[in-house]
Symmetry: C2
Subunit: 229 residues, 2 copies
DNA sequence: CGATCGCTTCGGGCGCGGTCGAAGCGATTT
DNA sequence: AAATCGCTTCGACCGCGCCCGAAGCGATCG
């Protein structure tokens, strides 16, 4: 059996706390500079540089030079999916050491998960869409109904790229809620639209997102979801 | 950002070559004894025992004592999914060191992937089902059509547990073919049935499976698939 | 053009963890 | 009851790789 060593190479890269923090930070979906990532990782810039080099060389990260800054981002959605799945396992394990941490509540409430929304907000949206018969979600896949397509299109969410009405609709296990939320192309489009409309905005130095005043109205109108504080 | 350390814990476990080999071996879907796993990992029984203890404590493995043997297996499908996703990343990376290894050809031809079939055989089956309009597969999800349900049911594949006709149908990126094959409940049921009918049988000490003579006939009749040697 | 900034490279220190030999423990066999 | 077997625990060794200080390099700015 030879796939072992291959997956070990990748997993070992993710297995270092500093690098894992880097990857977690990049799960926010934005490209970040080396310094920012060093801060998130809690190490000095030189150490971070070493880690970033390894991650990039292995093809987990892509880099864009821009002036004297160097922006790093996840190299592909595949990497995001991998991190999601590792998180899912990490959160379902036995009562690991899991202290209450400041800012954790904000993350649990609403955050981005690579390219879509996650947290209580996202789970509530998914529940609402399911309850209204706009989306069908099961453990391994999902689909958007005709009524759902109409509704989402009405919200300005373009699903043209998603083929033949069944759309790229995928459940993603929410690590904080332990229930599925909407991922895939539908989740991503919904996330983009929510930012466009100013319903949510990013919280500094975090993957967390905050629901704005318009957001409360908009989400209530669109999905009947009333975000908790 | 605090999810970093959590995923690092899990990833670090997978990141050791010996442990990765253990997990790879268990991706075959069967429970294996500690000694067998030690052999697969290429370490002594004491070392393997240490690794197995850590994996079990972290909730990645489950153990069943049976007499003086102790059988280990993946603790949940979630773990299998995680390993799949890591493999997918590992195989799409840059030209990693990837020598030709004996037995590799057999694995590329057909193997089990935790609970479903993978390799050229599985990709061919998926292609055939898609071409016949029995299954629709996209990057993030899939569904079984009415005609597909009828066809699979006719083969004795029970999809009763899969709800409302859309079934748990999921694509799984095949690391050797780099194209999707059928996973999820449908893939698992199909795999079970293939073993029941004697179409395929396990190869000793490997995740590879061999297509039997009946298998060639059966697969040809059922899907129009002619397995290469 | 010198100063500053962002990032990387180099070098050395140090700790964590994988490894195996030896011994212990419980189940099974004769 | 003694011998064997499968597996785990203990103890010690040792090497990999994470880490940071110092220096180098390229871009930007005054």
């Amino acid at each position: 059996m030879q796939t072992g060593p291959h997956i070990a190479q990748i997993a070992a890269l993710v297995g270092d706390p500093a690098r894992a923090n880097v990857l977690s930070a990049l799960m926010g979906g934005r490209a970040l500079t080396a310094s920012e990532l060093a801060y998130h990782a809690g190490v000095t810039p030189q150490t971070a540089s070493s880690h970033l080099g390894k991650l990039a060389e292995a093809g987990l990260l892509a880099q864009d030079r821009q002036g004297r800054h160097r922006y790093y981002r996840l190299a592909s959605p595949l990497v995001g999916r991998m991190l999601e799945s590792i998180m899912a396992v990490a959160e379902t394990g036995p009562s690991r050491y899991r202290p209450h941490w400041k800012g954790g509540e904000a993350l649990r409430t609403a955050r981005t998960c690579y390219d879509h929304l996650a947290g209580r907000l996202a789970v509530d949206i998914a529940d609402a869409l399911i309850a209204r018969g706009h989306v069908v979600l099961a453990a391994d896949g999902g689909e958007v109904t005709a009524a759902g397509m109409a509704h989402l299109t009405g919200l300005g969410i373009d699903l043209g790229a998603a083929k033949r009405g069944r759309a790229f609709c995928r459940p993603c296990l929410d690590w904080s809620e332990r229930r599925p939320h909407l991922a895939g192309a539908v989740g991503a489009a919904l996330c983009v639209r929510a930012f466009e409309r100013g319903w949510v905005e990013r919280v500094k130095d975090s993957r967390a997102v905050a629901v704005t005043q318009e957001g409360k109205r908009g989400l209530s109108d669109a999905f009947g979801v009333v975000p908790q504080t």
